[in-house]
């Protein structure tokens, strides 16, 4: 019985976690796609950093890779998380704080004024400064030890002028509390939902960021696979609290229209060869590649779930058969043991039906007890049992990449009341099935023969 209960519990939890992952992934991909489509005129420019000897940087990543930590299993996807989201100010995008700003190199703000003045088709150049805050951790990799940053939050400084804020999508849009940042705001921050937990603060509260006090003006919803930990404030505020006055980490160039984006990007590259220039189209391409990776992962996850279900089905079938057989044999034995009693009962005037129903009841009672014990065992041992009996979906398919990002939804097995009811119902059914034949046999016993039986 414990097995019969644990397996469905395990399947349900596996399915649930797979579904959650699927939902999160497709949500995020859709959202990012939408955002990118809206900002096809947008070109991201960051300063390439070249740190000799840091061989572990992802091979085809262009902007990060510096002193920041690039997870090895992210490299293969051809997608650099830091480029999305934080650098462009798109909430809900991939990346988040975890892998982002450590690798971006500060650029002198004034050096790039020529982009706007000399290149045709540039509508606006929005500089931004991104600073990650957290605790440094020593880590060993490939025989060398590095310091990595465990990011608590990421400060994103954006020039809050009416030109930038009102005309270009540089701020999050899904405000869940308070209001968004406005032109002229200073001394205020827009937190992500994850930030509110970290700072233990909400709209109207004041928080300390790098020893300066800020008022929380609003909160935006974070969604997607990654936890968004980026908080937004005025660029000057960000520069001054992080001692980066005059410096930025990225430039977002908006082209006049999507037709000239490529030309503008080429022009920027030739004007400033040191910059890494990424157009919306390129980001879309990267996203497509990532999407394919995710879809492959999802497919294999679904395949695993299907396989799990078929394994589970077989296991349940075996458990059901075993339970029925056990009840059958126990009841047959009981009937044999009590042949004389049955004979006596019939001799003193019990009907076949009464005898049969009594043995049926006993069988059902037996199974109900087994069911109750099974539920008790399952409620303690279900995770272990289903872990033993079922292939694990979340770990084998998604690997560390997804589970680590998604640790909140790892399989936790719960026994729902429905499952318990179904289990007890199943127990009664099996008890009835298993005791049907023995009970029938008991009732058909000829009393005269039964009496002779010792």
């Amino acid at each position: 019985m414990a097995i019969m209960i644990s397996i469905p519990a395990g399947i349900t939890s596996n399915q649930a976690s797979t579904e959650t992952l699927t939902q999160n992934l497709s949500d995020t991909i859709t959202q990012t796609e939408e955002t990118i489509n809206q900002t096809l005129t947008q070109i991201d420019c960051t300063l390439s950093s070249s740190f000799e000897g840091f061989g572990f940087a992802a091979p085809d990543t262009s902007s990060s890779g510096g002193s920041g930590f690039t997870p090895p299993d992210m490299g293969g996807s051809g997608f650099t998380p830091g480029q999305f989201g934080n650098a462009t100010g798109v909430p809900g995008a991939f990346g988040g704080g975890a892998f982002s700003s450590g690798g971006t190199t500060a650029m002198n703000e004034t050096l790039y004024n020529d982009i706007n003045s000399t290149i045709d088709g540039v509508a606006a150049v929005v500089p931004s400064l991104q600073v990650s805050e957290g605790t440094e951790e020593e880590m060993e990799m490939m025989g060398r030890s590095f310091t990595t940053l465990s990011v608590d939050y990421v400060i994103e400084g954006i020039p809050l002028t009416s030109d930038t804020v009102d005309n270009y999508p540089i701020l999050p849009t899904n405000i869940t509390a308070g209001r968004n940042l406005q032109a002229g705001d200073s001394g205020v921050v827009l937190l992500s939902e994850n930030n509110t937990a970290f700072f233990e603060a909400g709209v109207g509260d004041t928080i300390e960021i790098l020893d300066e006090t800020f008022e929380v003006i609003g909160v935006y919803g974070s969604s997607g696979v990654e936890d968004i930990t980026t908080l937004y404030m005025d660029l000057s505020d960000a520069q001054s609290i992080s001692n980066n006055t005059g410096y930025i980490t990225s430039l977002t160039v908006f082209a006049d229209n999507s037709d000239v984006v490529t030309d503008v990007a080429t022009a920027i590259s030739s004007l400033h060869a040191e910059l890494t220039v990424t157009t919306g189209q390129q980001r879309l391409d990267q996203l497509e590649a990532l999407k394919t990776t995710y879809e492959t992962a999802l497919e294999s996850a679904e395949a695993t779930v299907a396989q799990t279900q078929s394994v589970a089905f077989q296991e349940i079938l075996v458990a059901v058969a075993a339970t029925s057989l056990i009840v059958l044999f126990v009841m047959l034995y009981t009937v044999r043991e009590r042949t004389k009693e049955i004979g006596t009962l019939k001799a003193i005037g019990f009907s076949n039906w009464t005898v049969m129903s009594q043995f049926m009841l006993e069988g059902v009672f037996l199974s109900l007890m087994a069911g109750a014990v099974g539920i008790a065992i399952a409620s303690i041992a279900a995770p272990t049992l289903s872990g033993l009996l079922l292939p694990a979906v979340s770990q084998s398919t998604f690997g560390t990449r997804f589970t680590s990002a998604n640790s909140g939804t790892t399989a936790s097995i719960t026994l729902t009341p429905e499952l318990i009811l179904i289990a007890l119902g199943g127990a009664v059914l099996l008890g009835t099935l298993g005791s049907l034949y023995p009970a029938w046999r008991a009732s058909r016993t000829r009393p005269a023969e039964a009496m002779r039986y010792e």
């Binding site: 004979g343 005037g349 019990f350 009464t354």
Partner: protein, 260 residues
């Protein structure tokens, strides 16, 4: 003219043991009247138990009729027979056959289950019957806490539960020592005399059989001899301690002065 409770007409029963057919009962005719106490005697294999099983509707005869209270029970289907067994017949077995997980009173209540009697009526009736067989105060005892003789008394009380037309006792004293044997036979005799209960008792024991008023000798499936019991006809019984004759109503044996 006495009223016939049981009438057997040309009763036959053949068992097939492999290829061989065994004639357990052959063309047996018998009438038992209301209020009779009959003993059936005979050697092993003479058909005593077969006869009792057929009488008790536990077994079907292969020929002839069994009229119980003028109803031919051989024609009844199984789903009617259990009512006959419950209401018309009381069984007393050699091995008592009490249910070990029920106490004395519950064992006596058992045949009343499924009848119209309420729970409290059944309870009261069971207590009365246990009192009648001399087991007042032992109602809550399980069979294993009762002596063999006491267990058989419980079984007799159980047989009487539904006021049956006839008590069928299959070697009721077979598993008892001589003291208990006489106690049980006195109990049956008292029931017969005082309550008018019709009793048919199968026994091996000629001393026990001699306590009854009618002795039937069975041999090869036929009643070969019949005679009058010596004592019960004269309302006399045997003292279980000294073997001397006692009156049915005696509380103390007149010769050995022991309490009966």
């Amino acid at each position: 003219m006495s009223e016939a409770v049981l009438k057997l007409e040309n009763l036959s029963k053949t068992y097939s043991l492999g290829k061989r057919n065994v004639q357990a009962l052959s063309n047996l005719n018998l009438q038992v009247n209301k209020g009779e106490f009959a003993a059936i005697m005979g050697p092993s294999g003479s058909g005593k138990t077969t006869l009792l099983n057929v009488l008790g509707c536990l077994d079907k005869p292969t020929g002839g009729r069994v009229l119980l209270d003028d109803v031919d029970v051989t024609k009844l289907p199984e789903k009617e027979l259990y009512k006959i067994r419950r209401g018309k017949i009381g069984f007393v077995f050699q091995t008592f056959n009490l249910l070990p997980y029920l106490n004395a009173r519950e064992n006596v209540e058992l045949p009343m289950e499924g009848t119209k009697k309420t729970r409290s009526e059944r309870r009261q009736r069971a207590s009365e019957l246990l009192g009648m067989v001399g087991l007042s105060g032992r109602e809550e005892h399980r069979p294993q806490r009762l002596s063999a003789g006491e267990q058989q008394r419980v079984a007799i009380a159980r047989a009487l539960a539904n006021d049956p037309a006839i008590i069928l006792a299959d070697e009721p004293t077979g598993n008892l020592d001589s003291k208990n044997k006489y106690e049980i036979v006195r109990l049956l005799a008292n029931l017969n005399i005082n309550q008018g209960t019709t009793i048919i008792m199968v026994t091996h024991d000629s001393h026990i059989a001699a306590q009854t008023e009618r002795l039937l000798f069975l041999s090869d499936g036929k009643i070969t001899k019949e005679k009058q019991g010596r004592h019960l006809a004269k309302k006399k019984l045997t003292c279980p301690y000294c073997g001397s004759k006692t009156q049915l109503g005696d509380k103390i044996c007149p010769s050995c002065k022991k309490k009966l």
